[in-house]
C-alpha cells in the first residue's frame, strides 16, 4: 500500500527560509532510514506559497489568486510517498519524522498520512471504464512523474 505523508507549512517554510544545517542533517538521516528500510518511493519539498498561486473555479469562471496564503497549517510544504503494509506502519513512520529539529521552537507542526487509491478500490463498472477511456487519451507520460 502506498501512503503520502504530507507535511504542513510553518512560519519558517512559508518565509522561504532554508533549513538549518542541523535540520538538514536530521531530515537526511530520517530519509536514509526510510530508504534503508526499502519503503521510500519519492519525496519533495515545495517552495512557499508566495511563489505560487491559486486558481479558483466558480460558476464556470477561473480566477487566479497569487500567493502568499495565510493559513499556514492548511498549506502543504512537502511530501513523502512510502510503500508499506498497513496504515499503522505508515503512521509509525510519520511519528519518526524529526520535526523537533526542523520546526521553529514552540510551533506545532503537522503531517497528514493519506493512502493512495489502489486498483482493488475500484469495482469494475461503467464509470471506471469511462475513466480508463479518458486516461487512454492522455499522453503516455502525463502525470506528476513525467519522464
Amino acid at each position: 500500500m502506498r501512503f503520502m505523508m504530507i507535511v504542513k507549512a510553518n512560519k519558517l517554510s512559508e518565509a522561504g527560509a532554508l533549513p538549518s544545517e542541523a535540520a538538514l542533517a536530521a531530515m537526511g538521516k530520517y530519509n536514509e532510514e526510510l530508504q534503508k528500510a526499502g519503503v521510500l518511493l519519492d519525496l519533495s519539498g515545495l517552495k512557499p506559497t508566495s511563489k505560487g498561486a491559486r486558481v479558483k473555479y466558480a460558476g464556470g469562471k477561473a480566477t487566479v489568486v497569487d500567493g502568499p496564503f495565510s493559513e499556514a497549517k492548511e498549506l502543504v510544504a512537502g511530501y513523502w510517498i512510502i510503500q508499506v503494509k498497513s496504515k499503522e506502519e505508515a503512521i509509525e513512520w510519520a511519528k519518526r519524522i524529526p520535526f523537533e529539529a526542523t520546526s521553529p521552537a514552540g510551533e506545532a507542526t503537522e503531517v497528514e498520512v493519506r493512502p493512495f487509491y489502489e486498483l482493488e478500490d475500484f469495482a469494475p463498472g461503467p464509470a471506471v471504464e469511462s475513466a480508463k477511456e479518458r486516461a487512454k487519451k492522455l499522453p503516455a507520460n502525463a502525470g506528476p512523474h513525467r519522464g
Binding site: 510503500q83 506502519e89 486516461a135 487512454k136
Partner: protein, 434 residues
C-alpha cells in the same frame, strides 16, 4: 485518548514488521545462534503483546524490544551457566571454554547494539537466510520471515500452502543451518559472487511468485511483489557497490510498474504489447531506470539482471507498442543468451526477431527449439508458436498449439486466455455458417 486493545495489537504488528529484522540480525550476532536469536526476539514480542495494551506503547518501541530481548539473553545465559554447574562432571571438558565464552557474551550483550553495525548484521542475516545449504523453498520462507517481517501465517497464505508446512520448513531450515555450522557472516572473496547470486535469486523468486502466480486462480499476488521489492531495495542499500543488486531492483521496479495494466476488469491477463501504457506507473519506471543507470555506472551492464532490466526498460521507454526498439531487444536477448544461456531466452529472441523480420523468421527459430527437453512442458513455447502460426494464417496448426499451451499452464487465468485465442483460430479456420 486511550487506544483499544485491537488498535494496540495492530500497532504492535506494524512495529514488529519494522523492527523484527533488526532484532533478529542484532541478536544473532550477539548469541551466534539464529534459532536462539529468534526465540529471544519472539519472547520480546510476547512481552510487548502482554504489556503494551496496559502500559501503552513506549516512546522508542524498537529499543524497548531490543532491551527486553537482551535481558532474556542474559537470563538464558545464566541458566546455561547454572546447568554447566549442575553437571560439572559431565561438563568439565567444556567448562573453561564455556566460561570464557559466556563472559565474553555477557559483555557483548551489555554493550549497546551499535547503529553502525546494524547494516552489517542485516546483510549477514540475508546471506544466512539465503544460504545454498537450504532448499529454495526454505530460503524463501526464511527470508520473508526474518527480513520481510512476515508471519508464518502470512507466508503460508501468500504461497497457498497450509501454515504448518511453512512452520515446519522454517524449523528444518534453522536446524540445517545449525548442523551445517553456517557462520553468521558476509561471505568474502570468491564465495561472495555465488552467495550473492543465491540472495538475488530468492528475492526474484518471491517477486515472480507474486508477478506471475504459478498456481491458483489469481494472475497476480501484488503483495508478494511489494515484499520482494522492499527486500530488493533493502539489499541494494546494503550493497551499494554490487551492480546486480541494482540490476535486480531495476528489473522489479519496471516490471511492477505494469501491474495496473496487466489485468483486465475481470482479472484476465493482458499481454505486454496490448497493455494500456497510460496505466503504467511512471514513478516506478523512473525509479527502475535510475537503478539501471546505477547498475551500468558500476560496470554491470552485462549482468543477467541488468540485461533483463535493460530489456524491461526498452518497453518502458516506448510510448506505444509500435515504437518498441525490437532490434535493441533482439541484441539484448543475444547478450543475455551469452551470459546466461537458456532456451527461454532464445524463445524471447525469436519473438523480437519476428517483430523485426516477420513471423516466418520467428517460426524458424522457434522450430529449432521444439525438441529442447528443457521446454518440453513449458507452455510459452506452443503459445508463441501458436501466435506466429496465427499471424501466418495457418489457423488449424495455430489452434492445436494454443490448446497444447492451455493444457500445459498451471494458471487458470492464463489457460482461459489461451483457450479463447484457440477458439478464435478455430473460427477463423472455419468461419461460422459454413
Amino acid at each position: 485518548m486511550t487506544a483499544t486493545a485491537e488498535e494496540t495489537r495492530r500497532r504492535i504488528e506494524a512495529l514488529w514488521r519494522m523492527e523484527s529484522p533488526k532484532l533478529y540480525a542484532g541478536l544473532t550476532r550477539l548469541v551466534r545462534d539464529l534459532g536462539l536469536a529468534e526465540e529471544l526476539a519472539q519472547d520480546a514480542l510476547v512481552a510487548a503483546l502482554e504489556r503494551w495494551p496496559e502500559s501503552g506503547v513506549p516512546e522508542n518501541p524498537g529499543a524497548w524490544l531490543m532491551t527486553t530481548a537482551k535481558h532474556r539473553a542474559i537470563d538464558e545465559l545464566r541458566r546455561d551457566k547454572l546447568l554447566v554447574g549442575k553437571h560439572e562432571e559431565l561438563a568439565r571438558d567444556v567448562a573453561s571454554g564455556q566460561e570464557e565464552r559466556s563472559a565474553d557474551l555477557e559483555a557483548r550483550i551489555e554493550r549497546d547494539l551499535d547503529e553502525e553495525n546494524l547494516g552489517d548484521d542485516l546483510l549477514r542475516l540475508i546471506f544466512t537466510a539465503c544460504h545454498p545449504v537450504l532448499s529454495p523453498e526454505a530460503r524463501v520462507a526464511m527470508t520473508l520471515r526474518l527480513l520481510g517481517g512476515l508471519t508464518t501465517a502470512e507466508i503460508a497464505r501468500a504461497f497457498l500452502v497450509p501454515e504448518p508446512t511453512i512452520a515446519q520448513r522454517i524449523v528444518r531450515a534453522k536446524k540445517t543451518l545449525g548442523e551445517a555450522q553456517v557462520p553468521f557472516e558476509v561471505p568474502r572473496g570468491g564465495e561472495r559472487a555465488a552467495r550473492l547470486a543465491s540472495v538475488l535469486e530468492v528475492i526474484y523468486l518471491i517477486f515472480n511468485e507474486g508477478y506471475a502466480a504459478t498456481a491458483g486462480d489469481d494472475w497476480m499476488r501484488p503483495e508478494l511483489c511489494e515484499d520482494a521489492l522492499r527486500l530488493g531495495r533493502v539489499l541494494a542499500e546494503l550493497t551499494p557497490d554490487e551492480p546486480e543488486a541494482q540490476g535486480l531492483v531495476a528489473l522489479m521496479e519496471i516490471q511492477a510498474s505494469r501491474e495496473r495494466a496487466r489485468r483486465g476488469p475481470t482479472g484476465e491477463p493482458i499481454l505486454l504489447l496490448e497493455q494500456d501504457r497510460s496505466r503504467w506507473d511512471q514513478l516506478l519506471i523512473r525509479r527502475g531506470l535510475a537503478a539501471l543507470d546505477r547498475a551500468e555506472a558500476l560496470g554491470g551492464a552485462r549482468g543477467p539482471y541488468a540485461l533483463q532490466a535493460a530489456l524491461a526498460a526498452c518497453h518502458a521507454r516506448a510510448r506505444t507498442a509500435a515504437d518498441t526498439d525490437w532490434a535493441r531487444i533482439a541484441g539484448l536477448y543475444g547478450a543475455l543468451g551469452e551470459v546466461a544461456p537458456s532456451p527461454i531466452v532464445e524463445l524471447n529472441r525469436a519473438i523480437a526477431l519476428a517483430m523485426l523480420f516477420g513471423p516466418e523468421a520467428g517460426l524458424k527459430l522457434v522450430d529449432a527449439l521444439k525438441d529442447d527437453p528443457a521446454l518440453a512442458s513449458y507452455h510459452l513455447l506452443p503459445s508463441v508458436r501458436g501466435d506466429f502460426l496465427t499471424k501466418l494464417g495457418r489457423f488449424d496448426e495455430a489452434r492445436a498449439e494454443l490448446e497444447r499451451a492451455a493444457a500445459l499452464t498451471q494458471n487458470a487465468r492464463e489457460r482461459a486466455l489461451l483457450l479463447a485465442r484457440a477458439a478464435a483460430c478455430g473460427e477463423a479456420a472455419s468461419p461460422s455458417g459454413t
